[in-house]
């Protein structure tokens, strides 16, 4: 499969490339300078419609990993309008498979998380007004509306805290080390390699097995607290976490 990756040089990008690189032909793009890579690479700003459309030519799928958190203008440019540009590119080139990513609270914002349990990916989004969540939620809504009008299949994978399993509990820089044995730093966690494999599962899932043209998944490892529900990622994507990260919620 020919796959365009937007925002491929961010934190998640390398793990997705690792998961897909020997199985598909990748065209990796990012706004930053090109890293050393053996893959086709384009420097690209997702807020530029023409560039996104141009980059999507000849592709079978688009994976959107682009994200911008703190800056008001650029967050809207990337997280909201970037999705519009991606969907226009998909329509322009007849690309049926689009995979979007974001934080879990673009859907399950504080209005859910502070109140309820068994939060699942088929609830109506309630992102609230926090900039990152809000702009990403707008982007997802744009994607969803496009699927109502065009033959495009959208899979949105929601992550939050991601860990390198080799780092956990191992000195400075080890993600989440401060909270080990006390409480989870977050109840929504996953290892980077498992995030990559989830996206591979989404990429390789036959479109005819998708119940609708817009499906969302909460992707995190199995955790005991029951706040969120990851069963859809398991059953529909056929994904399983390799790393269970139990150090995050086990007393020392």
């Amino acid at each position: 499969m020919n796959i365009l990756i937007l925002g491929g040089n961010g934190m998640l990008g390398p793990w997705v490339v690792d998961a897909l690189g020997d199985r598909h032909r990748l065209r990796i793009t990012d706004i930053g300078e090109p890293p050393p890579t053996n893959y086709e690479w384009l420097q690209l700003d997702v807020s530029n419609l023409d560039d996104v459309v141009g980059a999507a030519e000849g592709m079978d799928a688009i994976i959107n990993l682009s994200v911008l958190r703190p800056h008001r203008r650029i967050a809207f440019d990337v997280n909201t309008r970037g999705n519009y540009n991606m969907m226009v590119a998909a329509v322009t080139h007849g690309i049926q498979r689009v995979i979007n990513t974001g934080p879990h609270y673009q859907m399950a914002g504080p209005g859910y998380e502070d109140w309820d349990f068994d939060l699942n990916p088929d609830m109506p989004p309630q992102p609230g007004t926090r900039l990152y969540a809000h702009t990403k939620a707008l982007g997802q809504e744009i994607d969803r509306v496009f699927t109502t009008q065009h033959d495009i299949y959208l899979q949105t994978l929601l992550f939050y805290h991601l860990y390198d399993p080799a780092d956990i509990g191992h000195g400075p820089g080890g993600s989440g080390t401060e909270s080990l044995g006390q409480d989870m730093m977050t109840p929504y966690s996953i290892a980077w390699p498992d995030a990559g494999s989830a996206i591979r599962c989404a990429v390789e899932l036959p479109l005819e097995r998708l119940p609708s043209r817009s499906e969302t998944y909460m992707v995190f490892t199995d955790v005991p607290h029951g706040k969120f529900n990851n069963s859809k990622a398991r059953t529909q994507l056929g994904w399983q976490p390799r790393y269970h990260l139990e150090q995050l919620w086990t007393k020392k």
Binding site: L49, Q126, T129, E141
Partner: protein
């Protein structure tokens, strides 16, 4: 009331300004490119900066043109109606502006066949046309602010076309979703003061409801959209037989 009106040089903005001027003190604003040459209009691109804070200072309520403003590219429409609306609401909430009226459109529900009893409880079915999609997203922004509270937001979905005159003019237009200017003024004025919690589904206690959507077209015979919210929330036009209000 001291009102801030956005997109004030657009066709709809000018009409709304004319309609509200007799009863309110208006502060007009528009994007820089459109404000040029209008000495009574404050140029603002609704950015994330002090100028937007200054714009909302001392304002009692904001009337925001969330549909039918200026013609623009898809990119610009999406930008101003998402980011611009977000910045405006952020500034307004921080400044303690009490109320925000978003002027949206009933075109968001135009895909439903006319024989259906479409009310505010029906899900919008926007297409991907930028002028519609951007209005849908503008509502999305407003809804999330409303969900959090801190500012009361009335989301008025306006009928189409908007015609000069009174209800009779709307009826004479032959358009089933028409909205007369006089009725638009009546609805905005009502939305500026209405208890948005009125007849909300779930509360007997003092209610913190801070977001309501209201469909606003002229109350003409066989009007396309039911005016349940206009009647029950804004107290307009009575509970008319044939308007689908129980």
């Amino acid at each position: 009331m001291r009102l801030l009106l956005t997109m004030a040089t657009s066709d709809l903005g000018r009409s709304v300004a004319d309609l509200l001027a007799p009863d309110h003190e208006l502060v007009l604003t528009d994007l820089s490119q459109h404000a040029e040459g209008h000495t009574d209009v404050i140029a603002s691109d609704l950015g994330d900066d002090e100028s937007t804070d200054a714009l909302v200072k001392g304002i009692d309520a904001i009337v925001h043109v969330g549909h039918g403003g200026h013609f623009a590219s898809a990119s610009d429409l999406l930008d101003i109606l998402t980011r611009g609306t977000y910045n405006l609401l952020m500034a307004a909430r921080s400044a303690g502006v009490g109320r925000f009226i978003n002027l949206s459109t009933l075109r968001l529900l135009a895909e439903y066949p006319e024989h259906l009893t479409v009310t505010e409880n029906w899900r919008p079915t926007p297409g991907v046309e930028p002028v519609i999609l951007s209005s849908h997203l503008c509502e999305y922004v407003c809804r999330e602010f409303g969900r959090e509270g801190g500012i009361k937001i009335a989301n008025l979905r306006l009928g189409f076309p908007i015609v000069d005159g009174d209800t009779a003019a709307a009826a004479a237009s032959g358009e089933s979703a028409a909205l007369a200017g006089d009725d638009l003024a009546t609805a905005i004025n009502a939305a500026l003061t209405a208890d948005l919690g009125l007849n909300a589904q779930s509360t007997d206690a003092p209610h913190p409801v801070s977001f309501r959507t209201v469909h606003v077209q002229s109350p003409i015979p066989n009007g396309r959209f039911l005016l349940k919210g206009a009647a029950s929330i804004l107290g307009l036009w009575g509970l008319r037989e044939g308007q689908g209000v129980a």
